[in-house]
Subunit: 145 residues, 4 copies
């Protein structure tokens, strides 16, 4: 399985990321890019993407970036997530770009930038750092027909 | 409007928290308790609540706790959110309890604990700290009939 | 060696904590209390304890609290540290109280409150959360005569 | 006063940064570079720079980077600091490079990388993000003769 296939599989079968409509735009070992299109159920009262949705996309991107850098059979689960919100997450889509800063046997550290696509071009609306723990991957079933 | 009414209104009209099904269990100035029942679209591949959903509930609870402590017409928006995940968010419901640590004219700091309800009783699955900025509340319309 | 002896030894031989004058006020498995008296070289331009000194005391307390909860021969090293500064660290002494939230085989999570002693009583000036990694303790020599 | 002069003044008169020996290597609006040479009183028991010292240098660099981006008469004080430790802070000197991610009227956000100088070249040993609050600068006296 390529990193792209792995991230697509985990993202597509996942309840939250599947229901939210997370798209895997790119994936290579240690680097993952996820997109999420605007939908009413992802917003807060002022019409921007909810901070929790931005955090969730960052968290998922961090987990995917770390996992694609690990040996087969290992998966990275988030230990802690720190998000700085820099600007309203407006626009029709947000994109999270995650890159590993450190890949160890027990710990990974990942940096994430989340951009909104505005009429005047892309703008970083949040940055996040995540620490993840390396665990054995549970057997993941491809959803059957 | 009481703190409880205010939090219920903001939570009910909000896309993400409305769609997710966030319940306002209690609210007083500076203290808010939110519940979220297990649903497939809130989970990750292993059947636990997704880290992004846990973060989103913590973020919303922090904003509500800070806002209820502010003068009327002011609202707190998250500047940064730090979540430590301590245990799998299993169980049928997660509950976030948020309390203000500091309420200032421009900045608030809030501490949040998220518990899961397990068969052996409640267990803290995450703790979070949020820094929020105080801004003028936009006019919020009650959804009409 | 008791937890108190262990923390005293590591604190006393350490360059930074020794030079700063960190005192070990109490230590039991998973709980440590450290004090630091005001000295000119610990302050910032406005006469309060420097944020870096507050962070350093919190970090050292977190490491000590985690290490005293681990089996002999293991030590906890900080992976990440998040500090919320709530009030100026004024007063003649600051005290950090650290308690473990989670003690695992590879990861520990510790919560810390730092208080200042003011004329109107103690006041929390900062709270911190730290994630630490469990490693084998290097052989530590007691400084010779 | 140029940004470089401002940062040198605040750093030189400050107890902690003066006593530790922090050098201002470069400063322009929104970007500051600080160096700190190895000394026994900055280390921990294993001979690396203490995590609190690394955090303190990052904190000071963040404050300086934000303050140089503000109008004259304003200063940025840290609200929260999040440090990810990536590698042992070994080597003879550590250097912190801070850049503003956001400069607002009430809040600034700064990103910092701390490098060690090793025999095989520079290596990032920590990254940090800080949120700072903008306040009026207290009158700062140049130390007299």
């Amino acid at each position: 399985m390529t990193p792209l296939q792995l991230v697509r599989q985990v993202t597509a079968i996942t309840g939250f990321t599947h229901a939210a409509g997370v798209e895997v735009l790119a994936a290579e070992p240690g680097k993952v890019e996820l997109g999420l299109a605007r939908k009413p159920e992802l917003l807060q009262f002022n019409g921007y993407f909810h901070g929790g949705v931005v955090s969730g996309l960052a968290d998922h991107a961090a987990g995917a970036a770390a996992t694609t850098a690990l040996p087969a059979g290992k998966i990275a689960v988030t230990v802690d997530l720190h998000v700085n919100f820099l600007a309203p997450a407006s626009g029709d889509r947000i994109v999270a770009r995650a890159s590993t800063l450190q890949v160890g046997n027990t710990i990974c550290v990942v940096s994430v930038a989340v951009e909104t696509e505005t009429t005047s071009g892309p703008r970083v609306c949040a940055v996040a750092n995540a620490v993840l723990r390396v665990v054995d991957m549970p057997s993941v079933q491809t959803p059957g027909p």
